[in-house]
Symmetry: C2
């Protein structure tokens, strides 16, 4: 196995040079001004895939941002791994909190710092390099397909339709994904499920223009006060979401399943320290790992209204807005939940305001098949690289499209994530440890070797 | 009297030319980048005052924006009117809602449209022109002093200290102010009291960085949700402010006083229609005019936190902020209330967050002496111009510095306001009706004539 480690160490400078080219492209899928960057990034990704040894690598247009598809078919009779990843990234604001420019990657204290360093350019690029190794050694044991999309961060609105239209081309036996975290380098873990997501935007409108708060204050409903009151009502004092019917489809885990999840080590003091909070919060009766792993939740992701500049302005604004999302657990239908939310939110509006609710995007949660040979191969590979058996864990985040792809392609996803909490994806100073980048490539190579597709 | 009307009509184009020069200067006191504009505006105002006939007009430095002082002393033995006004204006955002540029004044449908058209460049300029008339006719019956400040919209932080240092220079018998509204052109009114103000900014901080809402959602206190919950608690379901001790010093009006205020005509349907709301709101047991005139209130003037850009971002933000102000009634001490607010707000913070409260500015409410000869002179002047006896009314807004000036100078304020609701001061498309501009000048000239200072 030292041959694999040698290959990675020797080629690491080149790998980083190639990855940095991708990282320098500001492929922010949610912002229209980056439309050309999306195309530029897709073209660059195609170059990387061709250089790594795919038979073909192409850019496909969709209703939204383009999709990259590449493949190397060694034998149509052999099994096929479909690698899923995404080349789009989150916005970078508040940009003033970045220690180095988000799109000028640097190595600092053993980690790559850049937007996308982990999520998901860094993680998906490990698959390109693992694939390159196997091709260069002529050791590829199966067919490999790459599906790298550009809309993961905005809920993959176009990929489902495109995948349905290209179902035959995408046919596979497993969907292999590195877009999640493990517990720590000392306690490697493999993700066995993700939460779903329903994301909405609300607007509360009062008067038809901004008003002087002295002339009108006390006599009319202030849209900000009203919005705050409505948001406050969404969660009760036991941390339960108050939307009627919200928990109807939530599967309660068995004592046995909860015990298995509790095997994951968790240090509360470290957890609090790592994010600078003095106390945790959440639904009564559940542990922190359960709250993020197996329970749904509701968070306001953004709020704005009125005067937010320097100093004071005595205004009652015409409207206030908020972006609100719910993480869902398997069996909760994101469309049904979005509908319940909209209905409930409108129903609690007091007199004197009107309420609009717009749905942004959503996706189903899902469970990965823990008992499958695929999971076992991944566990063996990760265990060998880290020197300790990985723990199965449930991720709190969402890759909404995975449940959809599973349905379309009839193949289960397998989540081998190498991100760490410290990487602060979606936040300023996103990073990815070089050691994880290297161990990830090695683990993926070993996964192919142990995957049961070998003769 | 037709001589006065003639003078106004004949000179109106010139008055507007002169006023427009002032209106073109973006003297926004709350924004640092307009520091030079403040000086430019002060110099221009001095030119107007000298041209109108003051003996001297000067710019005085303060800790903040400069103060303009001008005077014409006809006889030190005669009584003195001190005209108070302000040349600073509110910010203009949301600027995209303005139909014409806020600092390029235009006449449209019989009204001047510009930031400051009413508040307070337009209203204070009427005094300059009324003074010009009396000087030009050699009919000035008393000494006149002008005090035009540049920090009214930010709570007049420097004026009190400056006025204390220049108490002798400012000595007067009445402080005459046009910076308020009347009920309508058909129902003229004179303001007999204003509410005070306490304005604060709060910040709720949770984690020390923005976090991925999938990884942490459900397990930690989200600063936006928390801030909303805290704001929601500030007012109970009867519309009463829940801050401990908040109502301790509020003077309850007698049935008689409330009956007098109820004389002001009020058309609820028109009120709702004029600001596009489907229902009113507020403290139980009080009418709309009482809610804005004699009762205190609490409004969030601005709120922001998390992702507020286009599309969706799945973030739990590190912090959320709000600007919150309270309108106070006479006898409530704004410093005491600000202190009570800060103490209360911190006390209701849940575990998992920290709370900061910063005080922006404040001012005392006050009552004008309705029974004084000054009020009677104003009522006679306004009644003659409008053809109907004016109604005494209580304004909901605040001119925080007036109570302070009254204390320093020992002279009562008299509020002759000619603004109308439709002027939407502090909002986009601020305007001032030409008819009110003309009637205001005429009323002020007549006020001097009836003021009892005449021989």
């Amino acid at each position: 196995m030292s041959d694999i480690k040698d290959f990675i160490v020797k080629n690491s400078p080149r790998f980083l040079d190639e990855l940095f080219i991708l990282l320098r492209i500001p492929s922010i899928s949610s912002q229209k001004e980056h439309k050309d960057d999306m195309h530029r990034c897709a073209r660059q990704y195609v170059v990387s895939l061709m250089e790594a040894g795919t038979d073909r690598a192409e850019i496909y247009s969709t209703q939204g941002h383009p999709v990259i598809y590449a493949e190397k078919i060694i034998d149509p009779q052999k099994p096929t791994v479909l690698v899923y990843g995404h080349y789009d990234v989150q916005p970078v604001d508040p940009v003033e909190l970045w220690k180095s420019s988000p799109f000028e990657p640097v190595i600092r204290d053993g980690a790559i710092y850049a937007r996308g360093a982990n999520d998901d350019k860094g993680q998906s690029f490990m698959h390109v390099k693992a694939f390159e190794y196997l091709v260069s050694k002529n050791e590829l044991p199966c067919n490999v397909k790459f599906l790298i999309e550009g809309e993961e961060e905005i809920g993959s609105p176009s990929l489902g339709e495109w995948a349905r239209q290209n179902r035959d081309m995408l046919a596979c036996d497993v969907i292999l994904v590195s877009d999640t975290t493990m517990i720590s380098e000392a306690v490697p873990s493999i993700n066995t499920g993700m939460r779903g997501l329903a994301y909405l935007e609300v607007k509360v409108t009062g008067p038809d223009k901004d008003l002087h708060s002295g002339h009108y204050g006390g006599a009319i409903a202030n849209p900000i006060n009203v919005l705050c009151g409505m948001i406050a009502q969404l969660i009760d004092n036991k941390g339960r979401i108050t939307i009627k019917g919200f928990y109807d489809d939530v599967v309660e885990l068995s004592t046995e399943d909860r015990a298995m999840l509790a095997r994951a080590p968790f240090d509360l003091e470290h957890y609090k320290r790592s994010i600078g909070i003095n106390d945790i919060a959440g639904e009564e009766g559940y542990t922190t790992l359960e709250r993020t792993g197996i329970r749904p939740c509701l968070d306001v992701n953004g709020i704005w209204g009125g005067y937010t500049g320097e100093g004071a302005k005595t205004v009652i604004p015409s409207f206030a807005r908020a972006k609100i999302s719910m993480r869902l657990v398997p069996n909760q239908d994101h469309k049904k939940i979005a509908h319940l939310f909209a209905k409930h939110f409108k129903s609690i509006a007091p007199a004197g305001v009107s309420v609009e609710v717009v749905e942004h995007h959503g996706g189903q949660g899902f469970l990965a098949p823990i008992s499958s040979p695929m999971y076992q191969a991944a566990a063996k590979a990760v265990g060998q690289v880290y020197g300790i058996e990985p723990v199965p864990s449930r991720g709190g985040g969402s890759i909404p499209v995975l449940a959809e792809l599973e349905g379309i392609l009839g193949a289960p996803p397998l989540l081998m994530g190498f991100g760490l909490e410290r990487d602060t994806i979606h936040s300023p100073n996103e990073s990815y440890l070089l050691s994880q980048f290297h161990k990830g490539i090695e683990s993926i190579i070993l996964f192919y070797k142990y995957s049961g597709y070998l003769a």
